[in-house]
């Protein structure tokens, strides 16, 4: 019998453990559908704020060898525009995860109340963007206290699982994860882009990114993400989505073994093409067959045994 790739994490049923990470494509419904057609098990929309945002001035993304760096700055059409954009989601054949942002707990709560519809399978709250003033790390959302307050505010209004997205940049990631769990989070996603970093063009004598610095993603951050997943798995009982640098089936297996129940894929869309989801699924299946795993659960967290 062929190994079973399906997972069911906090009531999100997925045919495989691969989730499109927020902010890579996902600006439009059509784009999510395109990604779903390329084999993703679930898709996340690009984070939405109450007000419309143009984001940082381009360049907003660069790659430097295997590293990707971005400072997109949360461009999004705002609550009203996004609500129109993300309706009729039944067109998308896989679960759609919302992503909402605010500058404080009240704004997060507002977004949860006014943006979320029953069409979403879950909502993710990134408390971890490293390069947008007022938000995430720069908004002071990375502390256990802020994590607790924001999670509570969202839980109050969201009639769906709430996923708290953390950053590897936080020192005691286990403590932050515990704060989220205690406040009612249904799952943890680690990690957002890390660093941040700066790339300077030595001829222009200027940082390349319009914002100056930006978060790192891509294959080289995978070891950091795996370590975070490992730490969070030791700290909480809610499921973990492991995100960061996964581009191959073996890398996905590594995340699962570290303790992830599902795996986020972002930069992989660049490194291996939009069909990265199909590729990773196939490779994961091959790996499971070779190593004799019958289902994803058999791998989750086995490094901790």
């Amino acid at each position: 019998m062929s190994p079973d790739l399906s997972v069911n994490i906090c009531k999100i049923k997925m045919k495989n453990p691969l989730v499109l990470a927020s902010g890579i494509l996902g600006v439009t419904k059509a784009s999510l559908k395109h990604v779903a057609g390329n084999g993703a098990g679930a898709v996340t929309i690009k984070s939405v704020s109450r007000e419309r945002r143009e984001g940082h001035n381009p360049p907003i993304i660069l790659t430097e060898g295997e590293v990707m760096m971005n400072a997109v700055g949360y461009s999004n059409p705002g609550l009203a525009g996004a609500k129109k954009e993300f309706s009729g989601l039944d067109e998308i054949p896989v679960p759609v995860i919302a992503s909402i942002i605010g500058e404080d707990a009240a704004q997060f709560g507002y977004m949860a109340r006014n943006f979320l519809t029953g069409e979403f399978s879950a909502v993710e709250i990134p408390l971890s963007c490293p390069h947008t003033p007022g938000f995430g790390i720069l908004g002071g959302h990375g502390t256990p206290e802020a994590t607790r307050d924001i999670t509570k505010a969202v839980k109050r209004h969201a009639k769906m699982p709430v996923i708290v997205k953390l950053s590897a940049n936080v020192q005691a990631i286990g403590e932050v994860a515990k704060a989220a769990e205690k406040a009612g989070a249904d799952a943890i996603n680690v990690t957002n882009a890390i660093g941040p970093g700066m790339v300077i063009d030595v001829r222009a004598k200027r940082p390349v990114l319009g914002f100056g610095f930006g978060g790192l993603s891509g294959p080289p951050i995978r070891p950091v993400a795996v370590r975070c997943v490992y730490d969070v798995y030791e700290s909480v009982r809610i499921p973990v989505i492991g995100t960061g640098g996964v581009t191959t089936g073996e890398a996905a297996a590594e995340m699962l073994m570290a303790g992830a129940s599902a795996v986020g894929v972002g930069s992989g869309v660049y490194y291996r093409g939009i069909d990265v989801f199909k590729k990773i699924s196939d490779e994961l299946l091959g790996f499971m067959r070779e190593e004799g795993y019958s289902g994803i659960k058999d791998m989750v967290g086995i490094v901790h045994d």
């Binding site: 559908k33 990604v35 295997e66």
Partner: protein
């Protein structure tokens, strides 16, 4: 297991020369082996100002150029630069024109003539017969009037005010050509309304055709999602900017609307 990738960031290149092509339109020349295909674009970086896409308009012997129309903030800054200054160049990106077909028609409106002129060079090199319908607002806005003087490309001009060639829509000339000659394929680039007209003509006459679309590009290499098209979710910067007629049918927003820097829908 990931393949080693080139780095997606601008390289600072010296502007070799700037040549005026028409009113408010100039070509910026660089030394370097870009290895672009006609229809592909580069992202130009002006440090401190921004990053914008421009189609490649010339390429041979280790030189290439883009042809730019002065429109707003970025392009005004660009027009303030001079030969010897440096500019960041990134790419080439996107999928270009197939170049397929025997007798070929190019339909260019405004700076849309830019990528088509590079395509024309290549087609002539391959010995193909090429009709180039070159449309603009007025005679003063017409690009490349000297470029194809050799006669190997049949130039057909069209202006809104009739100051050069046909008066009116350049797509009228397409209708004319298609009824006179057996045409293998049509390649179009220009304002979306023009593209839409050309699309309808080719659809009706059942002529193979390809269209280069413009949307708001931020990254240029398929990650940010700002250029995705409704109907299919295709990325203009990656699956495009050139799409074949059959694919265009699936692009629901074509000729209707596009999105701005925030992802908000705006009418065309």
């Amino acid at each position: 297991m990931t393949t080693a990738q080139r780095s997606e960031r601008p390289r600072m290149l010296v502007i070799e020369k700037i040549t005026a092509e028409a009113k408010d339109t100039s070509s910026f020349w660089f030394t370097g082996d870009l290895k672009a295909k006609p229809g592909q674009f580069v992202m130009l970086w002006i440090p401190g100002t921004g990053l914008k896409p421009f189609g490649v308009s010339y390429q041979d012997d280790g030189r290439f150029a883009v042809t730019v129309r002065k429109i707003g903030t970025f392009t005004e800054k660009l027009f303030g630069m001079k030969a010897g200054d440096r500019l960041g160049v990134q790419g080439p990106y996107g999928r270009g024109f197939s170049g397929k077909g025997g007798r070929i028609v190019l339909v260019g409106g405004g700076y849309g003539a830019a990528p088509l002129s590079f395509l024309a060079d290549e087609l002539v090199r391959e010995g193909k017969e090429v009709f180039f319908i070159n449309g603009a607002a007025t005679k003063d806005h017409v690009l490349y009037r000297e470029r194809f003087k050799g006669g190997k490309v049949h130039m057909i001009y069209s202006t809104d005010d009739g100051s050069l060639g046909h008066r009116g829509f350049c797509t009228d000339c397409l209708t004319g050509l298609l009824s006179k000659h057996k045409i293998g394929r049509v390649f179009c680039c220009g304002p979306e309304m023009m593209l839409r007209k050309a699309f309808e003509i080719c659809l009706e006459k059942d002529i193979p055709a390809e269209f280069s679309l413009e949307r708001h590009l931020k990254c240029g290499f398929g990650v940010c999602g700002s250029c995705c098209l409704d109907g299919t979710g295709w990325r203009v910067c990656r699956e495009g900017p050139v799409f074949a007629l059959d694919d265009m049918k699936k692009i629901a927003e074509f000729g209707q609307y596009k999105r701005d820097a925030s992802g908000r829908v705006v009418k065309i």
